[in-house]
Symmetry: C2
Subunit: 167 residues, 2 copies
């Protein structure tokens, strides 16, 4: 289901999640292929690390498509990549489609939880509802929402401590 995790800018071809991560990461700061691998390994706790056989050819392709460019070379045939203006634009357009992407994630999670989630189905469903309500809030209400969520966390944590106290 690689094609499921595809993201489309307003104009241009759809991009894989690996490409998206590359664009996003180089948007933060230019770096080498090796650095990208290390970064993704850290961020995902080693659970997802694109293989070198994937990454290096993909960097080459993205360079040929003028999304990224080599901004510096170093020893050991090291290449430091940075985004081009076209790459910046593509990344921005993909991120603008945040709603569609989040919907994808939502149906994916729903399915995932239906298959794996058992004991917690009810609670997770309520979490989803919270998520939906949050998404509909206008940004002005972030602070109020944050306080409500923080109180919720406190109350939930208190459940276990109440149980401990009654033992």
């Amino acid at each position: 289901m690689n094609d499921f995790w595809k993201f489309t800018p307003t104009c241009g071809k759809e991009r894989s999640l690996t490409t998206l991560f590359i664009l996003y990461s180089l948007h933060q700061e230019p770096k080498s292929g090796y650095d990208l691998l290390k970064e993704i390994a850290e961020k995902t706790e080693g659970k997802w690390v694109p293989s070198k056989g994937t990454l290096y050819p993909l960097l080459k392709d993205l360079e040929e498509e003028h999304l990224i460019r080599i901004v510096e070379t170093g020893k050991r045939s090291k290449n430091i990549f940075g985004l081009t203006p076209f790459g910046e634009k593509t990344l921005q357009q993909i991120r603008e489609h945040r709603k569609e992407s989040r919907e994808k994630m939502l149906v994916f999670k729903n399915l995932f939880i239906e298959i794996f989630g058992q004991d917690r189905s009810t609670l997770y469903r309520l979490l989803f509802e919270i998520r939906i309500v949050i998404d509909d809030l206008s940004p002005d209400n972030n602070d109020r929402a944050a306080r409500i969520l923080e109180k919720c966390i406190d109350d939930l944590r208190r459940i276990e401590s109440d149980v401990c106290d009654t033992r």
Copy 2:
């Protein structure tokens, strides 16, 4: 990143999410390939529907591997598939690895939200914290947790209605 969404039973080869869905769905009740496609389309609101070119050959493969079997044939060369005992066992073993699978989903979501999520970072982080607290609760406390979450939803919904009232 098909290989990222791979699930491993205790013994036996790792399985794709499509395979997992098939096993899960046939575990519910036997059905045809066409029914599987319809079901996944419904559950994902059309966002993920394995292609026929994927599903039918995969059903054949799973049959050859004795995970599923044809329990009935009908008109139009219709085949109704059901799980075999081996398929039931495989499904059960994969679902037993729920923790690893959920960890995968968590790092995937974190990455996803880092790339796409902006306005709501704080709120989503709080949602993650709620999730972590929920995961640590013992099942006995599901009801209390559910009530807390329900109240949280009410409070969040009231934010918008408060705003509407003040206009």
